[in-house]
Symmetry: D2
Subunit: 271 residues, 4 copies
Amino acid sequence: MLIHVGYDIEFDVPFGATFLTLLRVHPSRQTDLDGSDRVQVTPGVPVEDFEDLYGNLASRFLAPAGSLRLATSCVVRDSGALDPSAPDACEISVNQLPPATLPYLMNSRYCEVDRMSPIAADLFGSCAPGWNRVQTICDWVKQHVAFDYLKARPTKTALDAYTERVGVCRDFQHLAITFCRALNIPARYATGYLGDIGVPIAPYPMDFSAWFEAYLGGRWWTFDARHNQPRIGRILIASGRDATDVAITTTFGEVKLVRFSVVTEQVKEDA
Amino acid sequence: MLIHVGYDIEFDVPFGATFLTLLRVHPSRQTDLDGSDRVQVTPGVPVEDFEDLYGNLASRFLAPAGSLRLATSCVVRDSGALDPSAPDACEISVNQLPPATLPYLMNSRYCEVDRMSPIAADLFGSCAPGWNRVQTICDWVKQHVAFDYLKARPTKTALDAYTERVGVCRDFQHLAITFCRALNIPARYATGYLGDIGVPIAPYPMDFSAWFEAYLGGRWWTFDARHNQPRIGRILIASGRDATDVAITTTFGEVKLVRFSVVTEQVKEDA
Amino acid sequence: MLIHVGYDIEFDVPFGATFLTLLRVHPSRQTDLDGSDRVQVTPGVPVEDFEDLYGNLASRFLAPAGSLRLATSCVVRDSGALDPSAPDACEISVNQLPPATLPYLMNSRYCEVDRMSPIAADLFGSCAPGWNRVQTICDWVKQHVAFDYLKARPTKTALDAYTERVGVCRDFQHLAITFCRALNIPARYATGYLGDIGVPIAPYPMDFSAWFEAYLGGRWWTFDARHNQPRIGRILIASGRDATDVAITTTFGEVKLVRFSVVTEQVKEDA
Amino acid sequence: MLIHVGYDIEFDVPFGATFLTLLRVHPSRQTDLDGSDRVQVTPGVPVEDFEDLYGNLASRFLAPAGSLRLATSCVVRDSGALDPSAPDACEISVNQLPPATLPYLMNSRYCEVDRMSPIAADLFGSCAPGWNRVQTICDWVKQHVAFDYLKARPTKTALDAYTERVGVCRDFQHLAITFCRALNIPARYATGYLGDIGVPIAPYPMDFSAWFEAYLGGRWWTFDARHNQPRIGRILIASGRDATDVAITTTFGEVKLVRFSVVTEQVKEDA
């Protein structure tokens, strides 16, 4: 399957600003790309690409005062398969986890494992370990948290999502991640493209999406506490501890978002 | 100068537990070691050493049920110099910072940059950039926060330290780190040995200490908002985003600390 | 001056619900009323009126399943004068405050005096006591907090407003109230009608408004950290410790607001 | 039964301070007193007694610089009966509750009903209404929260107690109160004397104690989520929304507690 992905974002930059972006497809998907996914910046400024602490492809540039446009449009080859499921994948005991997975057991800004561990134990402590426990966590989050675009805020944490029971993508994933970590299951936050392939079109403007990955049976698996059903065509951009690490754009200096569009849609093979 | 460092820590482990430790001297100081600083575990169990995400020397082992003792005793060669000062070291603009320093600008569990940025701007926004601004932050923290061993708690954040105005080492550093990051100065949390060399003996039992590092003028410099005076003989163990990343021990399974001693003292060269 | 005040509010009540309302004009203004301000409930149900703990006129009724409409329309006689100012009004020492004012020095749900006292001392501790100190607090809040209707949330506290620097009426007042209390100045939250008399018409739909009262020089005075300028025609409905105590409607059982309009406008004397 | 109650408390007051105290036996128990329970202040200063917003007997005085001693010693006649139990007492629907009980359904500083309502619904929503539901709440709190004198802090809220699962008397009661209110059961915080009559002597120094009252079947009943067993000889001092309202002493100005003793013990009738 071929999926057309891209974005077209415009900012107003009154005095100049430095941008850090995570807008390139993840290294693990770069070989699936048809053409380049480098960030096209207008006006043209030097863009530095680098690999960040988590192995994602980051970019950095200095935006001059004025209007700034970021855009990319490319095609990604995808298996077209649904998110894989592995009901037999088991939890790995902490003393056998690969060291690289250990940071994903710990606290992070929006995942207060220290504050939520007793709650996780209350809710999921008696659930049998393994794939099904992570799925049970997703079911719980999906059932207890309502989706509302207007109830997002940048400082909302997993505990806030747990008490407020309303939020957006990232809040669902933060809550599920925190429960996983509290049960010693490595879990990391993921962001990327996710179109409406094979499902009803969402009544929201297309946006980047967030999901999470849990480490079971020796590898990372995709879970999504927000949609909580296998989906087709996720194109990973970046993963990290939580939304702090994988913000699409982090800006230093005053900026104002004036336009934002994201596209993720299946295209015909011969297109 | 030679500094004898070490620890002797005993836990009661009722049912077995996995330990992650950051108890080895930092790679940057390994060549200063006389002998090995590997963690001596009693009873003898296999100990796996690995480099963590931040470049520290971590260890992991599975502790059987029963009493567990961790100990090391070694000697470290040190310059004997005070923490260096560089009043001319300037702040580096974000677009010129080495990518490896960028994670230390971001939010972390105990450093809520998102919630404290306006406060940092109020307090330090009009202070001239550079070394002196970091020093002014340390002065403010030292002046406004009281030290009290009994007011520590594992979930205390920089914002909590700011509102409660009391805490221990780690709280002083978290608050200063958060202010630095809010002003776009990379800052990271450090833990290690710090004895009473050249200063009055503290009226507390010796413990591991925390300080922080700020990136100015192209390198990392030591600051310490708790003591707020140059000190001799810091032996770095680990650095990371905040206390989450550099906990001396992180345990998975029930454990009870029953004994704890740390030694950090100058020894005669011919000893 | 005559001011026409009223509201017309409609709820959808799927299964029946109990309503507590604070929709009647404050006892101190009842004599200014032309006609009754009792809550007109449709469908007609018995409405119980009572004086609450803070001396406000509360109402309670059991709403049956279905559509519920609350309305009132009446005229209030007002001096037409601007909020009075008394630059010479002094702070009263705690040992001389009337006992009835003491609850307004304490913590409440949205006014965390315990957490914000050091901040208040930093910001306003060196400001001379008296009227001008309360005004300085209002100026600070007005200058540092942005108004945004979309950034309201029911759990937002004074500390949240202080860190987020954005909010609605109630957040401005909660923050100013908390600062006052931290400085031992009794301060209480007020809600009522406030039209655009003598000022430009606000670009928002008319709503109930919030302000606060501070106790200085032996009486309560009106302050408003949101508008921060003397206004004409405030018609007090209720006052209390914070927004918890003076919610316009508190409902027990599921309800959905479907329509909401408030009117507050000057009418001709001979109308 | 006769119970000897009293206290002897000493403060260091460097510059003078105003004290508000709730140290007198509650009006409902004044007729049980043998002698006066007025606060004896040394040095002698005028003490003003007044009834506070919640009907408690408060006192206020201005302490001069120097050492300050507060003491009382008196005897209270008590039924000697255990806390009454009424398994048939039912929950009263909000539309039938006496208006005076309604404030005890609402948020207060340490009881964040707004943040904890979904949690209460998860845990106790399917429990049959009535006495047993309040008892089930107490059982849950007692079972999930550990008592630790060293884990008290003045800003700890019900949500903090819920996440940290450790605290002192007041934290147990705040958590239980918040759950009750979230379920529309009026609940208020109580403080008073509670000796070790009929139970093993506690391994802590005697202190004032906290419990709570829930409104069921038309009256207030004593519950105690900390001890969670019927006790003999509670002597109520004050009740209010939460610990904010019934602090034994609230001081305005710097003071240092230097000595503190409380006595609550059964005395022989002919003593």
